[in-house]
């Protein structure tokens, strides 16, 4: 095998080597998107750093540190930490559910000093890590065998159940999508996939009937007829569409978005931050931001393809998919194409937990990139 003159080919990289290998272009992209988010938080607070922008700067800085730290850690270390991370996240998830049910009302987070940690966010990374490690050890034939498949599905299903009980439909959907995508990428046979898709299609009406909460059904109904109740449940979607649409080609200008400044937009600092961005920067700005996102994703997919270990490939792809599911659900939701499910826009929305999870994910992605030449035998369990 002809190896390129590449430091990683030495298979053991010095710390300096790793820093050189960091994909600084990707870091720059992430910083650009993060800054756009901070600027919008400043804007929607009527041009004030309080209450969101200043804290988001803290979140983002912390996230950058976490990202770079994660990126220089050997991919095999992450591999050995995969199951413990999954277990830890699951433990927190159970704990938060129990506390939530014991206390009054649902609780989705654990307070860690200034940071509210959402175990469901952590779970997404834990699941991607654990599933990548599990599938790394399975050959393409083994993936489609009932026992490994059942184990894989259980790894997806158990956290999904706890998250849906919180109740948090949006995150549940993302966990399911992340897990199933990894099974698909690991080579799951179409003989499994096709019938399952059919069964899901059949199950949707049943889920509507027995599983979904009233407030979730209301969101779907509102989505279908938003104008029927423009001042009530349809308010969010109607106002979001007005905000985006009124931005026009060039937008209203930074801090000039009337819809968010005058509180017509709900949740303007979290789920609807993208809407404010579209209002203030118009079609041109929104398209530019989409391009930035697309380039990040392109980098991610490229990283996955170039990794020499199955674990690295699945990990990178899992993280990128998680990222794109966020963008997709949030983007489609605020533009009135799918019901409101309460998913933030990654890197833009206010929130420490989501920011740290996303940045940690990018750290893992960059670790895959730095260690892309590292080969890991199928039956290896990492290096700890």
């Amino acid at each position: 095998m002809a190896l390129r003159p590449y430091a990683a080919a030495k298979r053991t990289l010095s710390f300096a080597d790793k820093l050189l290998e960091v994909n600084w272009g990707l870091v720059l992209l992430i910083c650009m998107i993060g800054c756009a988010g901070i600027a919008m938080l400043y804007s929607v607070a009527n041009a004030h750093f309080q209450p969101w922008a200043l804290r988001q700067i803290g979140h983002f800085t912390l996230g950058l540190i976490v990202m770079l730290a994660a990126s220089v850690i050997d991919i095999r270390v992450w591999m050995s930490l995969a199951y413990p991370a999954y277990g830890f996240a699951l433990l927190l998830l159970v704990a938060v559910d129990v506390v939530g049910h014991v206390g009054l009302g649902a609780q989705r987070w654990i307070s860690l000093g200034p940071l509210d940690l959402q175990p469901s966010e952590l779970m997404k990374i834990g699941l991607v890590l654990a599933l990548s490690r599990f599938l790394h050890g399975k050959s393409i034939e083994e993936v489609s065998k009932p026992v490994p498949l059942a184990i894989g599905l259980a790894m997806i299903g158990i956290p999904a159940i706890f998250v849906v009980l919180q109740p948090n439909l949006g995150t549940t959907l993302i966990i399911l999508a992340d897990g199933c995508s990894l099974l698909f990428l690991a080579g799951l046979s179409w003989w499994w996939i096709a019938p399952t898709l059919g069964a899901v299609a059949a199950a949707v009406p049943l889920a509507w009937r027995f599983v979904l909460h009233d407030y979730q059904k209301a969101r779907v109904e509102t989505f279908i007829h938003p104008e029927a109740d423009a001042l009530g449940k349809g308010w969010n979607i109607t106002q979001a569409k007005i905000a985006i649409g009124s931005g026009g080609v060039a937008g209203k200008g930074f801090t000039q978005g009337t819809q968010s400044r005058l509180n017509f937009l709900p949740e303007k600092q979290t789920d609807f931050i993208w809407t404010s961005f579209c209002e203030e920067f118009g079609f041109v700005g929104a398209l530019a931001l989409l391009v930035l996102f697309a380039v990040v994703i392109f980098y991610g997919v490229q990283t996955a393809m170039s990794a020499r270990s199955q674990f690295g490939r699945l990990l990178a792809m899992g993280i990128i998919l998680n990222f794109i599911f966020y963008i997709m659900i949030n983007g489609l939701m605020v533009m009135g194409l799918i019901p409101v499910v309460g998913i933030p826009m990654p890197l833009l929305s206010y929130g420490g937990s989501a920011m740290l999870t996303v940045m940690f994910g990018f750290g893992l992605l960059m670790s895959v990139h730095i260690h892309r030449q590292v080969e890991i035998p199928r039956h290896s369990g990492g290096i700890i």
Binding site: S139, I140, E141, V143, S181, F184, L185, A186, G187, Q239, K241, I242, A243, I244, G245, S246, G247, G248, V249, T258, Q259, R261, L262, N263, F264, C278, G282, F283, A286, L287, L290, F293, A294, I297, V301, A304, M305, Q310, R313, L314, M317, L321, I324, I327, M328, G331, L332, M335, G336, L337, E375, P377, R378
Partner: protein
């Protein structure tokens, strides 16, 4: 063990293939997002832009300042005064609304009823809307609240504007008053101001008649509001058109004296310029304070106003209908002279009674003194107000000629004064009776009309108009508004009265003798100041029919009767006798007693009016016909000319 085996290779290939497939899916997602952006922002962008503006911008009406009403010398009769108000913003009342009201109640007086109303108002409004707690506070109360303001969270002090009538009830029947808009009025008037909270519109008098002009037109403030309707900032402002000022022909000084002399009687008095019709004073008593209606009337006040037998709400000058009594004899005399019956040699002998058909009519002299007036010509009959003379003369002239003469003097038709609710009175004719009652006119009817009883009725305004026409020989009509918004109100050319000079001269001579010749019915109350002498005619109008039995036993003296049953006391006059300038009428309801002491009231007013001679003084009226000339704001600009000290208004 090899690092890579075949199995690895195949799964890598699958991974790559499926990743590429997913990449295509991601591209599709981005394409959808971009497409949707295009749809919302470019294709439908304009429409959403409009919707966003609709969300953001709200129009608030601004009430324009209401125009002032001035007398002929610029004295402000109706203006705007500062309205000291206390408002409460419920969301800022940190200890709750009830607690806040209790605290305010320690500083200014608040009844439980008021508190309940405020609680209701607060519940009806958004929590950031300031709700009035108290209005029209005195300066003392207002400063007390201001002093305690640091301890009253959510309380705001505010100075607004409200209508004020500095002279209170004195001019109420001219000015009218303003009050809150009723729901029916909102339906009738499309002016957006009508639905403005706290809006007041004119309900009577000039305020009602010229409401549109005095009101002005609404301004608007474009404000940016947030999703909860809270105002963020003002984007633009259109102040609207302020209401127009109105100048009246009234002289406040003469008006004040008229009002003061009528005192608490149920009475009316009008003074007008005989040459151009300017009304100098117009008083109807009792009145009421128009400020009550602006600030809100109490139940007991309303009850008193509506149930009083003195009818304070009625403008007796324009809407009170009275039998003209003996004052009507002037019209009969005029008709007789014009008809050629009452020639200078024409005389009638009064023996105290006259029998027409099988009915005997008494002269007032017979009822009082049991003798007649003897032989009288027209002037003597006017001087003595001899009933028998006019019974006999009217019988000869006939109702239709009397009707004709009276119509020339303006009876039986509205005068057209710029005040709402004017009555036309009634001047009967044989045709009228046929039409109304399907009965022929009887000679008895004529005899009743001859002394101003029976069918004939008139308003005090018609009587003063009649007097002015007799005095000037011109067909003048009373007018009370000089200019609106700096533009003089157009008046019709005053034509000559279609009556011969000889007839006018003889009637005037009779009126002169009433007052200025010993034995005239009003001689005791004449004006003695040389050059200011007044001519006039007294009148007594019965308000009930005397029964045969009463006639037999002798008429009961008025002073012995219930107030409601006493006769009305009338007087009309003009002055000076030579080259008349002013005409006057006074009617005291149920005020007739022995002789005519009430003439003194008219005499005093007429004397003051002539001494001041307001029509000769430079008025404060806008000089030109254009609206640009701003009238002086200073009260009583003409005061240096005034012979009497003018009390500062307000």
């Amino acid at each position: 063990m090899p690092l890579f085996d075949k199995k690895d290779k195949s799964r890598y290939a699958t991974f790559t293939r499926r990743s590429v497939g997913m990449g295509a899916g991601m591209t599709a997602v981005f394409a959808v997002l971009a497409g949707r952006l295009y749809q919302l922002q470019i294709r439908d962008g304009d429409q959403y832009m409009v919707e966003a503006e609709d969300n953001r911008v709200s129009e608030r009406l601004i009430a324009p300042p209401r125009g002032r009403i001035m007398d002929r010398f610029g004295v402000e009769l109706a203006n705007s005064r500062r309205n000291y108000r206390v408002l409460l913003v419920s969301e800022q009342a940190t200890e709750g609304v009830a607690q806040a009201l209790d605290t305010i109640g320690k500083v200014i007086v608040l009844s439980d009823q008021q508190k309940k109303k405020i609680q209701h108002d607060i519940a009806m409004n958004k929590k950031f809307v300031p709700v009035p707690v108290a209005e029209n506070l005195t300066w003392d109360e207002f400063s007390r609240v201001n002093l305690h303001l640091p301890y009253l969270p959510g309380v705001q002090c505010d100075v607004g504007e409200t209508r004020d009538y500095p002279f209170g009830k004195e001019l109420v029947h001219i000015l009218g008053y303003v009050a809150s808009v009723s729901p029916q009025e909102i339906d009738k008037d499309a002016d957006p101001l009508m639905s403005l909270p706290g809006m007041r519109i004119g309900k009577r008098g000039i305020e009602k008649q010229f409401d549109k002009q005095i009101r002005g037109s609404a301004g608007a403030s474009r404000v940016e509001v947030n999703a909860y309707g809270r105002i963020i900032r003002e984007l633009g402002k259109d102040a609207g058109e302020p209401g127009e000022d109105i100048y009246l022909t009234i002289d406040r000084e003469v008006q004040a004296l008229a009002d003061q002399r009528l005192c608490d009687e149920s009475a009316a008095m009008v003074v007008m310029d005989v040459n151009n019709g300017d009304v100098i004073a117009l008083s109807s008593t009792p009145g009421f304070d128009p400020n009550w209606f602006n600030t809100g009337l109490t139940n007991s006040q309303w009850h008193d106003l509506t149930t009083s037998d003195h009818k304070p709400l009625l403008n007796k000058v324009t809407s009170g209908i009275y039998p003209p009594g003996s004052t009507f004899k002037l019209a009969v005399a005029l008709a007789a002279i014009e008809a050629g019956i009452a020639t200078p040699d024409y005389r009638v002998t009064c023996n105290g009674r006259i029998t027409v058909g099988n009915h005997t009519f008494n002269c007032w002299a017979w009822t009082t003194y049991h003798h007649g007036h003897g032989s009288l010509d027209v002037e003597g009959a006017i001087k003595n107000s001899c009933d028998v003379f006019f019974y006999e003369t009217a019988r000869r002239v006939g109702i239709d000629k009397i009707h004709q003469a009276a119509r020339k003097l303006g009876l039986g038709a509205p005068t057209g004064i710029e005040l709402p609710g004017e009555h036309s009175g009634l001047m009967p004719s044989s045709e009228w009776k046929q039409k109304t009652y399907k009965q022929a006119w009887q000679q008895g009817d004529t005899l009743s009309v001859a002394i101003g009883q029976g069918y004939v009725t008139a308003t005090p305004l018609q009587l003063v108009q009649q007097t002015a026409r007799l005095a000037s020989g011109k067909a003048v009509s009373p007018r009370i508004v000089h200019s609106v918004g700096g533009k003089q109100v157009a008046r019709p050319e005053v034509a000559r009265l279609d009556v011969s000079d000889e007839a006018l001269a003889r009637v005037r001579s009779g009126m002169n003798r009433v007052m200025n010749e010993g034995g005239g019915t009003a001689f005791n109350w004449r004006i003695t100041e040389p050059g200011f002498e007044m001519a006039g005619k007294t009148g007594t109008a019965q308000v009930r029919a005397y029964s045969q039995e009463e006639h037999a036993r002798g008429i009961t003296k008025n002073s012995a009767l219930d107030w409601k049953l006493r006769d009305h006391a009338l007087f009309i006059g003009y002055a000076p006798v030579i080259d008349p300038k002013y005409a006057i009428v006074s009617i005291i309801e149920h005020g007739a007693v022995q002789a005519h002491p009430h003439v003194a009231m008219a005499r005093d007013v007429m004397l003051l009016c002539q001494q001041r001679d307001p029509s000769r003084m430079p008025a404060a009226w806008p000089v030109t016909n254009s609206a640009s000339a701003a009238p002086p704001r200073v009260q009583g600009a003409a005061q240096p000319m005034s012979p009497q000290p003018v009390k500062a208004g307000g």
